[in-house]
Structure formats: C-alpha cells, structure tokens
C-alpha cells in the first residue's frame, strides 16, 4: 500500500486496509468466545458462562475449534504486521517515558511510528501466547490419547494453557480499554479503516511524517 493511497479526502488517513480489519475481527470474535468459555472452565463462579453459551459440553466441544480460527487470525496478523513490529530506539525511549503516556501527556512522548512500543508489545504478546495456547491446547483437546509415560505433557499443558491465557487477558483488557475508551478514533479505525490526519499526527508522529512527506494530500 503506497502512501498516496493512504491519504483520503476530508483530512483522513487510511490506517487499516480491509484485510487487516477483517483479520482483526476474525481474531477478536473468536477470542471473545474463547475467553468466555475459557473463564467458565477456569472458575466454578463463572461456570454459568458456559451454560449461557449452549451448555458446558458444547463449550468444551467448540472451544478447540474456535481456537483454530483464532490461531488463523493471529497468524494472518503476524504475516501482515510482523515486519512493522521490530523494536527500535524510539520504542526504547517510549517505554522509558510510559508514565507520560499513562497520564495522557502525549505531546511529551517520543515520536511513535505506525505502531507505538505498547502496541508492539501487545502484538508479540498475543503471537507468543497464541502459539503457546495452541500447543498446550492440542494436548488438552485429546488428553485420552496421551500415553501414561508421556503424562508430563498433560501436566505441562494445563499450567501453560492457564498462564498464557491469563497473560492474554491482561493484554486484552488494556487493548480494549485503549481502543474503545482511551484513544477516541482508534475503534473507528479498525471498523472503517480511517483516522483523522490529526489523530495520526498526534499519536503516531513518525507514521504521519512518512505519509505527508511522501505524498501531496488530495483536496
């Protein structure tokens, strides 16, 4: 996608192309199902979630299949974005001034590119945990086929699956909070695809510079 195509009329910039948006929502909807059914199996106090979703045996049957869809979404996003997710010097400086970011003092942040360091952390967290969840999930899918002398696989899988799921829940909560509540415009960007040019300038100055320098805006 050239920068010329990214500039849209009325001072808007294309932030996420159709395929990016689609894969984000494939992963998002499947994750929400996995989260709800997973939490039902995590705690007796949340078991009613599985009952609401068609009964616990149904949840147990569908959870692994929906997990495969989630894995597909994550792998697609990995393919699209991994080259843009390498940590740079700016990211190191970004982490050091994360306090400003938390206090909404965005003008004091180092100039982030298309993705800031926090978003990169989210990306790698989900890719890594997604793979761990997949591998441990395979074992938990068919525990009856694991022979007794390989039982350590099951012992490892239960703890890996729960721990990595918890990590993704932490990332997920921050991600939803940032995208829906804290950073107005971000949610629209992953639905419609565009953000205002001012959004780009303010939150992703490096990316903004790239776009503006390499193109002339259409009026």
């Amino acid at each position: 996608m050239s920068h010329q195509e990214q500039l849209l009329p009325h001072g808007h910039v294309l932030r996420y192309a159709f395929h990016e948006r689609l894969m984000h929502w494939v992963a998002a909807f499947s994750y929400i199902y996995l989260l709800l059914t997973g939490l039902a199996f995590w705690s007796p106090w949340l078991f009613w979630l599985a009952v609401m979703l068609g009964g616990a045996p149904v949840s147990r049957m569908l959870h692994p299949w929906i997990g495969l869809i989630f894995l597909f979404g994550v792998l697609q996003m990995y393919g699209m974005w991994s080259s843009q997710m390498h940590f740079t010097e700016v990211d190191r400086a970004w982490f050091q001034s994360v306090g400003h970011y938390i206090r909404n003092e965005d003008d004091q942040m180092p100039p982030a590119g298309r993705y800031n360091a926090g978003q990169k952390l989210l990306f790698w967290g989900f890719v890594l945990c997604g793979l761990l969840l997949f591998l441990s999930g395979l074992v938990l899918w068919f525990p009856e086929y694991i022979p007794w002398n390989l039982r350590w696989l099951r012992y490892t899988a239960v703890i890996v699956h729960a721990s990595s799921a918890l990590l993704t829940i932490g990332l997920f909560m921050i991600h939803v909070y940032m995208g829906v509540f804290a950073e107005r415009g971000a949610f629209g960007s992953v639905i419609r695809g565009d953000v205002s040019i001012e959004f780009a300038r303010r939150y992703h100055p490096g990316w903004y510079k790239e776009i503006v320098e390499s193109s002339t805006p259409r009026k």
Partner: protein, 298 residues
C-alpha cells in the same frame, strides 16, 4: 450414580459451600486387597463387569495372564500380573487388582471444572456423575493412578464407583463378593487398616517377607483402597504402583496459587482501568478535539 441416601462432602467445580456439609458423619469405607493371597483368578474382573453391566471389549494378549494393558472406560477392575526375580534367584509372581483408589484428596475432583461431575460421599467414595460430565478430561490429568478413562462415543469419563449402588444398600462391592480366596476385604477404614497391619506383621514374622507392609499413601490423604504388599518398599513392582503418589504439582499450582493470583490480577486490572478513566479520562474528549484550531480563538 448417586443415591439419594448418600451425603456428599466434596463437589467438583462447585461455587460456594457444599450443601449439607458436616450435617452427618459416616465411617470412611475401605477396600483391603491382600496381594499375598491373590491367585489371579479374575473373578473380581467378571463380577465388576456383570454388576455394572459393562459391555465386553476385546482382550489384549501381552505374554502374561493379564486381560489387557490397563483399565478401560468399560473395564474398571483389572488384575496386573508381574514377574519379579529376587536377588536370591527365586521368582515372585505378583498379582495386583487395580482399580480406582478412592483417594481422600482426589486429584480428579480437584482438576474437574464441571459442577457436580465428580463427588466424594461422606463415606469416602469418589464417584463420577456422567450426567454432569463435560468430557474435558482434566480428571485424567489430575489422577496419579491412571484410572479415569474417556469414552469417545459418549464423550464422558468413567471409572470404578466402589459399587456405590450396592454399598448404599448395605452390600459389599461386587469384586469383594466374588473373591474365592478371601484376599479382598471390605469395611471401615479403621478396621481394614488394623486387619492389614496384622497381616503385614504375620508376613514379616512368619513368612520371611521382612519388607511386607501396607500401602495407604499419605500423599493423596490416604486411599479408600489399601494393599498388603510382600515388599512395601517397592510398590512399583506391582504394575507401576506409584511409591509416593501426589496430585501433579502443576495441577495443584493451577488450582491453587495461580487461580488466586489470576483472579486478583483480572479484578485488579478491571478496577485499575476504571480508575484510570476516572482520573485521566480519554486522551482527547472527542475526535473533533484533535483538529487544531485555525484562525480565530474564542
């Protein structure tokens, strides 16, 4: 399956307290298996299948008298045959009736996420309630004895019930009833422990088994099935009976500290994000705020 007259003391995947907990006390029941007088006749295997109406499955020949390598979802009672050569060159033909051990601290119940799929009655019997089972197989992971078995057709897990339906009517389990040598005994845990200790003493003092002893592993809180072994220092010889069984430590970590840590982190995280919004609010109030003011300022 459960009987109305049986009181429950532990429930799997259950939120809150156990209804009726501590309203009634019963002596803990126990099966005593004296491996030194077992002749491997398999009457207990047949009695188990008959009483529990289990469909017959194929046997697997493995160069011993053993019916199949391990218990199955429809074969809850299996005698394990092992040959052991002692240091003096003599042979010991070891036979151990293997089935659910009915642990006081059951790993299957601890691992189970489904409300009421596994219960422990006040008499100590650990029983699977297939109607509540969701087929996740976590019990298979929780069990240190390799007992719960999955039926792919019903997608439920099954194991020995200690003949709950017989015991609740005052009868002994089917396996006990069928034993021709009297190597199987059934009664209260206290009585069985005493009987087992007496037999072990006899073996040590009169039968040249200096290591004879009772297998009642404390790692799982003791078991509802105890063994008299010729050599209690080497339970592994008897078809891999674990020397010091515990609920796997990862299962304990998962159902213990990780659960509390995870719950605290999730609830704390939600509160933290809400408070952050109250304190700092959104980065910009509306998207329009992002547009720089041009020309006249108010």
């Amino acid at each position: 399956m459960s009987q109305a007259t049986l009181r429950i003391q532990k429930i799997s995947g259950h939120a809150g307290s156990v209804p009726g907990e501590d309203t009634q006390r019963e002596p803990t029941l126990c099966k005593l298996i004296d491996t030194t007088t077992c002749i491997g006749c398999k009457a207990c295997e047949v009695a188990c299948m008959e009483w529990n109406d289990l469909p017959f499955g194929e046997t697997v020949f493995g160069n011993t008298y053993q019916t199949m390598p391990e218990t199955r979802w429809n074969y809850w009672n299996l005698i394990l045959f092992n040959e052991h050569e002692r240091e003096d060159g003599t042979l010991m033909w070891l036979m151990r009736k293997n089935q659910c051990m009915h642990c006081a601290d059951p790993g299957c119940l601890k691992a189970c996420p489904s409300d009421g799929a596994i219960v422990q009655y006040t008499n100590g019997i650990v029983d699977f309630q297939q109607a509540n089972c969701i087929g996740c197989g976590y019990c298979i992971t929780g069990c240190p004895f390799n007992i719960p078995k999955f039926n792919p057709e019903t997608k439920r897990v099954y194991k020995c019930t200690l003949c709950t339906d017989r015991v609740s009517e005052g009868l002994e389990p089917a396996c006990i009833k069928s034993c021709p040598t009297g190597c199987l005994h059934f009664g209260t845990k206290d009585d069985m422990r005493e009987l087992a200790a007496t037999r072990a003493t006899q073996l040590r003092d009169h039968y040249n088994f200096p290591n004879a002893g009772v297998y009642d592993p404390p790692g799982v809180g003791g078991t509802g099935v105890i063994y008299v072994l010729h050599d209690a220092t080497q339970p592994e010889l008897y078809g891999g009976l674990p020397k010091d069984p515990h609920i796997p430590w990862t299962v304990q970590l998962w159902k213990g500290p990780l659960k509390w840590l995870g719950n605290a982190a999730m609830i704390g995280g939600l509160i933290g994000l809400f408070v952050h919004y109250l304190r700092f609010g959104p980065k910009a109030r509306e998207e329009e705020d992002l547009v720089p003011h041009e020309g006249k300022q108010p």
